[in-house]
Point group: C2
Chain length 137, copies 2
DNA sequence: ACATTACTTTAGAATAATTATAAAATTGGT
DNA sequence: ACCAATTTTATAATTATTCTAAAGTAATGT
């Protein structure tokens, strides 16, 4: 359990005002050592059940996008009706179970290093994401 | 330029009735050796400019989803407001330029083989997709 | 502490891709 | 040609996300 003053500092340093809503979301997302995957819909429910505060949907979107821009969250590239975010911002990949709509982390050491031979003139690589779709045997 | 009778046969064999709309879409998608990436919106415009037929939006969606289910098209996993499809159904990966919203094929030989060490009990790997996001240097 | 400014939150409206609906049209088999 | 099954179509419904602009809150200077 981290103290909220830690989040207040971090938010300020990032140029984000430490509002009640942002601190609450920080606590819900980052107060555990476990990283996890969520959609805005998931997070809305988490807020509802785990805080006695109502945060408007627009604020949830704003906050998550702000955190993502600052690099505290990663958006995961999958085709789903909802966008997934990851509190694990390290370079890593994912399993995705399309039936259960669930993501599972693949740590960097779970995947042999990926090397791309092709280059595009005038372009540089920003990120390399591997999505491994899985299914019942 | 393939003959439409070829598509009629293929559709019939797949259990899809060869309608005027489906044949038109086949011709627009598969009448070239070049494979390409498109969104439903792209395809709607292609139909508009390259055939003298108006195909309703619902039919475009139905057809593309039917073709995808039969394995004639691949959906590409990226987070975009629109879903991308690929006429190249072979195992391959992609560059994605988020600014220009453009996809570029990475042939299988452009990427060193990907090996996943982790396994999930009761689950098998269905596909492995690599998305390389690129940006201006 | 107070005032002023800038940033945030909020509810609700707007947007846009996709899916659902159900009537009309077309296809395939007899 | 006839009939049943499938398909197309226009339109409505759905849903995630973004926009808007008014009200609230935080930061800063006095």
């Amino acid at each position: 359990m981290r103290s909220s003053t830690e989040y207040i500092e971090k938010l300020r340093k990032s140029g984000l005002r430490p509002t009640k809503q942002r601190i609450t979301i920080c606590e819900l997302l980052f107060n555990t050592d476990k990283t996890f995957h969520f959609t805005i819909n998931d997070l809305t429910k988490i807020i509802e059940f785990n805080s006695n505060q109502k945060i408007s949907l627009a604020t949830v979107y704003n906050t998550i996008h702000a955190f993502q821009k600052k690099g505290y969250l990663k958006e995961i590239a999958i085709n789903s009706s909802q966008t997934y975010f990851d509190t694990n911002i390290s370079a890593h990949h994912h399993f995705f179970d399309e039936k259960e709509k669930k993501l599972i982390d693949l740590e960097d050491e779970d995947v042999y290093p990926i090397k791309i031979k092709k280059t595009i003139p005038g372009k540089k690589i920003k990120s390399v994401e591997v999505l491994v779709k899985i299914d019942k045997i």
